[in-house]
Amino acid sequence: MLKNRIRELRARFQLTQQQLASKVDVTRQTIAAVEKGEYVPSLLLAMKICREFDMSMEEVFQLQEESE
């Protein structure tokens, strides 16, 4: 499962879901689905999100084993 810190980072950078969605060129619903872990973003979208927060991929997304 792919965990992420987007919600936390959004709060730190004071961005709404809509603002982040506009910056990375997706819909607000997609950001909400990624935050909830319902949708695994493509590599391109993940990299765009990381670029917005000026962080590396590992800092934003973490691979979590199913058993954990």
Binding site: V26, T30, Y39, S42
Partner: protein, 155 residues
Amino acid sequence: MKLSVIYMMNVTVLGLFGWAMVTYYDAAFQFRNFMSGNGDGVMINMTPILITLLIVSIIGFVITRNKRRNNKGWKEALLLPSELCEDDEREKNLTAHACRNAYIAMMFASPLLIAAMTLQPVISKEFSAYPILVLLLLPFVQMTVFYFSLRRKLK
């Protein structure tokens, strides 16, 4: 536009189109009888055709205007079904999943409906437009499976 509204519009258009085609089918029967010297002429009931044209025009106008307001090009606004309008990769993913389910449903529905067509000689005496009804079930099954699989994913 809401997915359920698009689905209801599609079903309405399909139903109205079927109704109009039943009228044409009856007229074709009358024409056949007329050509073989058994009929007085051909009478077409224009009501279903006119109602279909009116409602399809209204629905088409509403959908096209809605898509143009969402910054879609004319080609997409006029030719692409509303349920296939995708704004990002997640929506493309959802559409792909729903299309897959619709394809699988057609694999099962097609042979069943072809088998249903074999009843045509028996049923056509009571209901002459039976083949039209069977053919209309194909797109109905397709759009229904597409709608429900998309709705389930969006919940």
